[in-house]
């Protein structure tokens, strides 16, 4: 992996950590994913770039952390063992079980993400549309954006997230 890949993973881990149970940090998530990859319990499918693979492992681990938090037990080893039999989810995200704590964190972190774009109404519109699961076409129609505007706004969003993810502490 290149230095850029490692920074990309840091940004991805920090992004994913926004949706983590409160007692788990982004580096916990990333180090756990590295551990699962390095010990061979998660195998990289052919054709999947390593960074995308590790990102998928982090996503899976996050769901198990939440499951563990819901159970409120000390079953970590069992849960991590279960992880070995799961694949990387693609497409529509796993629909989280209703959880007051997870809901509260989601609302709080949505506010934090929107604050990153407080001076960029187009970015906020697109973030809302992504939250709602709208397509690019639906978003452009609803928000009155051209495809060019949409693409350039997504680029601004991406750069802002990279910046936020590389800063210490993260905004």
């Amino acid at each position: 992996m290149t230095e850029a890949d490692l920074m990309r993973l840091k940004v991805l881990a920090r992004l994913q950590a926004r949706g983590l149970p409160p007692h788990i940090g982004w580096s916990d998530l990333l180090q756990e994913a590295f551990a699962r990859v390095l010990d061979g319990s998660r195998r990289q499918p052919d054709g999947v770039p390593v960074v995308a693979f590790v990102a998928g492992v982090m996503r899976s681990i996050k769901e198990y952390y939440w499951r563990e938090a819901r159970r409120g037990t000390r079953q970590r080893q069992k849960l991590l063992a279960e992880l070995e039999s799961t694949g990387i989810e693609e497409g529509e995200p796993f629909d989280p079980q209703p959880s007051p704590e997870r809901r509260a964190i989601a609302i709080q972190e949505m506010e934090a993400i929107n604050e990153l774009f407080e001076d960029d109404p187009q970015a906020q519109q697109i973030i809302s549309a992504l939250y709602e699961g709208l397509t690019v076409e639906e978003t452009c129609t609803l928000c009155g954006l051209s495809k060019t505007d949409y693409d350039s706004t997504r680029t601004r969003i991406r750069r802002a997230l990279i910046k936020a993810g590389l800063r210490t502490p993260q905004p």
Binding site: T2, E3, A4, D5, L6, M7, R8, L9, K10, V11, L12, A13, L15, Q16, A17, R18, G19, P22, H23, I24, G25, W26, S27, D28, Q31, P49, A52, A55, R59, E92, P93, D95, P96, P98, S99, R102, R103, A106, I107, M110, I113, I127, S128, L130, Y131, E132, G133, R154, I157, R158, R159, L161, I162, K163, G165, L166, R167, T168, P169, Q170
Partner: protein, 88 residues
């Protein structure tokens, strides 16, 4: 536009943003790092603290401390090496 359950909407958003980050070029990431004055090639650079080192980043530690205080303490046991780099 507010019928979506927050936890599902938020996961959708994270998934979309994750894809964006996976598509970012190395040059784009290095450019942003450079704008922040971060030099990933330097030994001990803050850019990779928490990624290739086992030191727990300051912001993660702060988040845990804050949240732990909120919920009245967590008994989760994980080894957490000390020695974080100072924040920029």
């Amino acid at each position: 536009m507010n019928r979506t359950r927050p936890e599902l909407g938020f996961e959708r958003l994270l998934r979309s943003l994750e894809r964006d980050l996976l598509e970012a070029t190395d040059a784009e990431i290095l450019t942003v790092a450079n704008e922040l004055g971060i030099k990933p090639g330097m030994k001990g650079s803050i850019a990779l603290i928490g990624v290739i080192s086992t030191a727990r980043p300051k912001d993660a530690r702060q988040k845990s401390a804050r949240q732990t205080n909120k919920v009245g303490g967590s008994s989760r046991s994980r080894g957490r090496p000390k020695g974080d780099e100072p924040a920029t």
